[in-house]
Symmetry: none
DNA sequence: GGAAAAGTCAAACATATGTTCTAAAAAAGT
DNA sequence: ACTTTTTTAGAACATATGTTTGACTTTTCC
């Protein structure tokens, strides 16, 4: 998708806000007044452009007939939803193939795009109350503090473990005596586990 | 609410359908043409009436500014949300005072009114991966099968336990050797635990 | 630097659209 | 039957709104 100019972006934003507030579309002059265009013909020009690019529609000769294209009107990531993108090992690492299976209801705050969910495989985190088939909600971040539960990439495979930082060493600890710690220097942290959803 | 005339009902229906299809409101003449009114003033008359009765709104001097009143377009219970109504013991029973603290995102299916959430107190269900401060999602039902996790009312206080039915006996089993089973005959089952949400 | 393209403005314009007014028709109440 | 209220129509009206045109400015490109 081509880049939008600053003004075009403001026009789209304004139309969306206006629709949201009033329930019907703004007039050309209302748009102009709010994005700094003093002539309706200038607005017309920009709207024609936006229409060509598929961002919106409006019928000639109809007043206040602007509608945003689905792509634009849609609440991009459904509110309070987090995408479930695959599996993550809590025992032997399993390949984390990334494709959205479904959306999990979870309040992800003001930046939902930083969140995703993974289904847990294996029993290495039993001691932390994380069971097989649980869904862990993860916030993308490259680092974490000692003691936090993280999702880490280890040789192309994802695992959930407790992060341990001590004496300059980094370890990924399972919460189950049957499993062995993993050397943290060999892996990259994908994010921190901020939530868990279980469905019986 | 006063009864609507046949024509008024048709006008409301038409506006709703038009909004649904076009994303913006119809003009007076479009309304008239579709409900059998030949003069815009007739439409104006009926719309004024409908506005007085609170069915819709529109601004004077604005074209195509009709909006249906909330009552007409509202979605009643917040979608995918379950009310958090209090605490439930997983150790010593705690009084389950019922007042809605907040709404927890959870896909409760077609009958969300049968679901509620409780915050877990105590550690009696550690073995089942249910930790203190976890939120259990409960579906109201008076009975449950052997092995299911239930919320039960025991002397005016709620607890989460695993239901055991054997040899005609009914027990509520903790999933922690430090706690004692409860006699199931002395309590009433509030519902079955169908989900769990944890926030770190 | 000059040409081409894109963006903007101002003014005049055409018309879609709500408004007003008066009157006729229909319905309701007496 | 008569009055009153409600509903509708038609025409003229005022204006909000999209459209067109031409010129001017800014940006982009070679």
């Amino acid at each position: 998708m081509k880049n939008l100019s600053d003004r075009q972006q403001r026009i789209l934003d304004f139309i969306r806000a206006y629709l949201d507030e009033n329930g019907y579309p703004p007039s050309f002059r209302e748009i102009g007044g709010n994005v700094g265009l003093k002539s309706p013909s200038s607005v017309d020009h920009q709207l024609k452009r936006l229409r060509e690019m598929g961002y919106l529609q409006y019928e000639e000769g109809h007043f206040r007939s602007i509608t945003l294209t689905d792509q634009e009107r849609e609440v991009l990531p459904p509110q309070g939803m987090v995408p479930l993108v695959g599996n993550v090992a809590a025992g032997a690492p399993i390949l984390a193939e990334e494709h959205v299976e479904e959306y999990i209801p979870f309040d992800a705050g003001p930046h939902p795009e930083d969140y995703f969910a993974l289904r847990v495989r294996g029993e290495s985190m039993l001691g932390a109350g994380i069971l097989p088939d649980d869904l862990v909600i993860v916030r993308r971040q490259p680092e974490a503090y000692n003691g936090e539960i993280v999702v880490a990439l280890f040789e192309d495979e994802a695992t959930v473990k407790t992060l341990s930082r001590k004496n300059g060493e980094v370890w990924l600890l399972p919460e189950n005596p049957d499993y062995e710690p993993i050397d943290g220097r060999a892996c990259r942290i994908l994010g921190k586990v901020v939530g868990l959803v279980r469905r019986y």
